[in-house]
């Protein structure tokens, strides 16, 4: 069950450019990808609406989950996006 917990380092949180880049990267993958706040309900990482509604702020943690072929590589990419200040 490939999963990563990561702190969002972008000053604007998971909004604007980081949000758009995150969703575009997830949407290109042929596997399911979800994001949740720790203990919260997961939402699709491929939906900009879901990500904006999740409203992740700078310094908050998220849990990214992917299942299937290439999941680890995809998670590495997504973690790199949200870890960038």
């Amino acid at each position: 069950m490939p999963e990563r917990k990561v702190i969002v380092e972008s000053q604007v949180g998971l909004h604007a450019r980081p949000a758009a880049t995150f969703v575009q990267t997830a949407a290109k993958a042929p596997i399911d990808v979800t994001v949740a706040k720790p203990g919260g309900s997961p939402v699709s990482a491929k939906s900009i609406l879901s990500i904006l509604a999740l409203d992740v702020r700078h310094g908050e943690a998220i849990v990214i989950h992917a299942e299937g072929e290439g999941a680890d590589r995809l998670l590495d990419e997504l973690v790199a996006i949200v870890s960038a200040p």
Binding site: V12, R17, A20, Q24, S47, I48, L49, L52, A53, D55
Partner: protein, 149 residues
């Protein structure tokens, strides 16, 4: 089909004219942008639905069919931390298209060195599903802006 209304008065200029590549290159999604009239104004709900996210500088309204529309009031205006914006509705509130959501003054945003340009984005819209009602030129808040098929 969803008719998306102009949230603010001004001139329709298209997303490509937005001075922020994340909108101009369509990374956030399809839609258009309005260069707002430089006078105190009210940004309204572009569709019927629920306000799922309400920041002073941006809001997302989701219709009963699950479609969400983002209205962004100016570029990099998150940095203003709400200064110059007055929220007129509440997150979670159900609204009709045309209902006032945020009061602001595009001239003040511009005077502060930021673009007051307003992207209006059909979130998660598939390519080819959005068609302009007003491709360019003047609109009033509440006028039909684009169709989302």
């Amino acid at each position: 089909m969803t008719t998306v209304l102009a949230p603010v008065a001004g001139r329709v200029v298209g997303l490509a004219a937005v001075p922020d590549p994340v909108f101009a290159e369509g990374l956030v999604g399809l839609g258009t942008a309005i260069d707002p009239a430089r006078e105190p104004g009210t940004a309204v709900a572009p569709i019927d639905g629920t306000i799922v996210k309400l920041h002073p500088h941006a809001y997302v309204i989701v219709g009963d069919d699950g479609r969400g529309v983002l209205v962004h009031l100016g570029i990099d205006t998150v940095e203003l931390r709400g200064e110059g914006f007055r929220v007129l509705a509440a997150e979670g509130e159900r609204v009709r298209a045309g209902r006032p959501v945020v009061a602001w003054d595009p001239a003040l945003v511009e005077a502060g060195g930021r673009s007051p340009m307003c992207p209006v984005v059909a979130l998660d819209a598939l390519p080819g599903t959005v068609g302009a009602l007003v491709p360019s030129g003047a609109v009033r808040a509440g006028d039909g802006l684009f169709l989302w098929h």
